[in-house]
Amino acid sequence: MTRSAAWTADRVSAAMQGLGTGESVAANRVRVSVPAARVLEALARTRDRLRCDHLIQIATVDTGTTFELHYHLTGAHRGIVSIRVELPRDAPRIRSAHGILPPAALYERQIHDLFGIEFEGHPDLRRLILNEDWPESEYPLRKDWVMDPGKSYGGAAKEVG
């Protein structure tokens, strides 16, 4: 299958000077590992220098020891840039990217609900995915989370009419 524009790793590395080096992981995808503190700068460069205007997805992975956030972006050139960020498991905090990419507000809110990652500066991090009376600080998509039968997770009690 022919892939779209030749999207070389070194073009991305040039744009990401001093943040991280581009590493080609697929025919049209280059991944850059970036320190968590400078993620906004990396995203801004991707959007401006590499002309990526469409945020495909913010993928989240719980590797057991750390959380990984993958910001996938693409643009008219049809190449994909993935910004990879690692967060410590105990207090995962990162700057919210909704200023640079408005749809990010959306994805971040979902990640906060299911993984418990804090997004500083997010306009409205209210609970939304899980039901209203789901216990606080229970993040179901974490690897170490198991459903504790003793605990009540909300939803209507068993009063059958």
């Binding site: 899980l130 179901p140 009419g161």
Partner: protein
């Protein structure tokens, strides 16, 4: 049996209005129920109308496993319906949560929250199977109306009822 009770039984059997409630389904059942309303299956010839408000409906058709967030709302909609009201749980999800059984945000079948009268098997059941389910529910309605109370429910496959009047 007095004439008026027979007339009411006939009327209730002839005009079962349904109310569709999606309690967290993958919307395959919802689309098949809607397909039952459209020209090829056309349930209006049986007097079945899909109504917008629970107040106007006789049969509540619940699709999907009851997710935690939707459970309270399913209960409220059920309480809003006027008597005599009936519940049809559609598909495998309606029975016990189907393929989503045991997931953290899923309570299980519709019977976790509301009393269910008829279960329709299938994932999703075809429109003609849904119409068959409604027909069996109509038979139940007529039996209840004739007894002027609720006929005892048997949990098991629906008995081969006589020709649905």
């Amino acid at each position: 049996m007095s004439l008026s009770r027979r007339l009411v039984a006939w009327a209730r059997g002839k005009s079962p209005w349904i109310f569709l409630f999606n309690s967290g389904a993958c919307n395959a059942c919802d689309i098949e129920i809607l397909a039952a309303i459209t020209p090829r299956f056309d349930v209006e010839r049986l007097g079945i109308l899909a109504k917008g408000s629970p107040r106007h409906a006789d049969i509540l058709i619940v699709t999907g496993p009851v997710t935690r967030k939707q459970a309270a709302r399913l209960r409220r909609v059920y309480d809003q319906m006027p008597e005599p009201k009936y519940v049809i749980a559609t598909g495998a999800c309606g029975a016990n949560g189907g393929v989503f059984q045991g997931l953290y945000h899923v309570l299980g079948g519709a019977d976790q929250v509301v009393p269910v009268d008829i279960y329709i098997a299938g994932c999703p059941p075809r429109p003609d199977e849904i119409i068959d389910g409604i027909a069996k529910c109509v038979a139940l309605i007529k039996a209840d109306a004739r007894r002027d109370g609720r006929v005892t429910r048997r949990s098991g496959p629906a008995p081969p009822q006589e020709a649905v009047g």
